[in-house]
Amino acid sequence: MMSYRYSFSRKVFVVFNYCLLTFLSLLCLAPLVHILAISFSSSSAAASGTVTFWPKSFTTAAYENVFGKPEYLRAFLVTLQRVALGTSLQLLLIVLTAYPLSRDNRVFKMRTVYVWFFLITILFSGGLIPTYMTVRMTGLMDTIWALVIPGAVPVFSIVLMLNFFRNLPKEIEESARIDGAGHLDVLWRIYVPLSTASIATVTLFSIVGHWNAWLDGLIYMKHPKHYPLQTFLQTIIIEQDPRYLTAEEAEKMALISNRTSRAAQIFVAALPILLVYPFLQRYFIHGIVLGSVKE
């Protein structure tokens, strides 16, 4: 396909192209590396603004401070809890909902009606305040369920999954049905095992979505001790709300410059994403492409 005799201008382009792409990819990591370098630097080095991409006067004081902070650890636990509960609930609902919606209209007459029922929720929503009122009326305020239940039906993931199910060969299902397998059998024993790539994709979306969500924690939780990590960080880093600091902490904060401590908190909160993501990467691209391609 490629001609092997490169012209001079082609060579110039290739070199330029590799340089540009390398620069772009480094640009994506640079801010994170910089924050990491700051988090391991001494507070005076960080405050002087001389740290670039390598720590200056290396110290782990900021991390000792972060992990010694009960609020941070508590918020971390709330997040782990919501990720575990939220992701399993979402996965269950995605698979259960996508299966009937992937049936042929001839087999499942009501299919189109149901699909529209779910699609309308992407097209239109009650908005911030009515949703807030509903969560309040159903008694979820200030409980972990406020972070899990209102968003338990992720319609985009359902659409991805149902498109994937529709592309599975019909013969497998038909022969299983003839052998007397019910719909649930077909789903659990045939469809789910055949859909690992798509399931990995929607799992990643669920985990990342729950890990990163912060607004629901901010509006549905009355006590800061119930905040998930992102909400906690939002109030402490972005708003820098002094309400959440005790006098003792404020003193500690002064000792360890705000900057290194903030950097360490940001990095610890990003770390789980950095760890899961490369493993799931090969699945999600595959999953997205398969899920969005239709016959």
Partner: protein, 298 residues
């Protein structure tokens, strides 16, 4: 009828949990929109509060800053859409020229990453690196004798910081769909072009780009639906009263009105206005995508 029910009931049953949850947390709030036409009192619920007709809407459109907020929303969102398309398309084409697979994969792993980090974390990072006193960006600009710029506190800079950081976060992820489009192009077309004497540049112009066109048109059309979505998470975590004049958008205004000033009904009215316009735009975009790109979501 009965026979059909006997065959279909497990399917209905499987849908039941999701339906119930959607009815409560998606459809019930839609009924709650009646708040926009009431003077909502928290104790009285959606139906016990006094009705006030269009008063809340008259109030909003009389607020002096509303024009600016609408302008900011559309301006920021449109710039994000345009830049958020051009950059990934260009990068996808450039990446397609790369023959070293390891380089390609490493590049992809690196540029997809920011997409997965929340705006809370990225805002924390941006606040640090853009700080006028100690931020690395201003230190770098200082090397060229440029005075420190207060990027996040300057009305002129703020919208551009939003657009640039949004493109930075999303361009890698955006390339996925365009790369997929490039791989569907028939290799024979390149061969034919080469035989006709077309160099790589001509091939890109006359084979790759036209081959990507359906997807490009499709994504532009679908983006039409987000002209009123300027990015709540990002703006909320980066803005401050100094930059309200150029950075305040509909969603942040709804949040401040509703949850900080407790003006539930007025806030809902603004939200409803946005939802109705968005619904119109999204429907239009799906219709156009269906007409011209033969695209169907399900």
């Amino acid at each position: 009828m009965l026979r059909r029910l006997k065959l279909e009931w497990p399917l209905h049953l499987m849908l039941l949990p999701a339906i119930v949850l959607c009815l409560i947390y998606e459809y019930y709030p839609m009924i709650g929109i009646v708040m926009a036409f009431q003077d909502y009192l928290p104790g009285r619920g959606f139906f016990g509060s006094p009705w006030v007709g269009w008063k809340n809407f008259e109030f909003i459109f009389g607020v002096p800053e509303i024009g600016r907020i609408l302008f900011n929303t559309v301006y920021i969102a449109t710039m994000k859409i345009i830049a958020g398309q051009i950059v990934p398309i260009t990068v996808a084409i450039l990446l397609n020229e790369v023959r070293i697979q390891v380089f390609k994969r490493t590049f992809q792993t690196m540029v997809y990453l920011p997409h997965f980090l929340s705006w809370v974390l990225l805002s924390g990072i941006l606040i640090d690196i853009l700080s006028p006193s100690s931020g690395i960006v201003n230190k770098f600009l200082g090397l060229f004798g440029i005075e420190p710029i207060y990027f996040l506190g300057d009305e002129d800079w703020f919208p551009y910081v939003l657009v640039i950081s949004d493109v930075w976060k999303g361009f890698g992820w955006g390339t996925i769909v365009f790369l997929a489009a490039i791989t569907t192009i028939n290799p024979n077309l390149y061969e034919a072009a080469e035989i006709d004497g077309a160099g790589r540049w001509k091939q890109t112009l006359h084979v790759t780009l036209p081959g990507m066109m359906p997807i490009i048109i499709l994504t532009w059309t679908l983006d039409l639906g987000s002209v009123l979505n300027a990015g709540f998470d990002q703006v909320f975590n980066l803005y401050s009263p100094q930059v309200y004049s150029t950075g305040d958008i509909i969603d942040t205004y709804v949040f401040r009105l509703g949850l900080e000033q407790m003006q539930f009904s007025v806030s809902t009215a603004v939200g409803l206005f946005k939802s109705v316009v968005s619904l119109f735009l999204i429907s239009l975009s799906y219709y156009l995508a269906y007409r011209f790109a033969n695209y169907r979501i399900f």
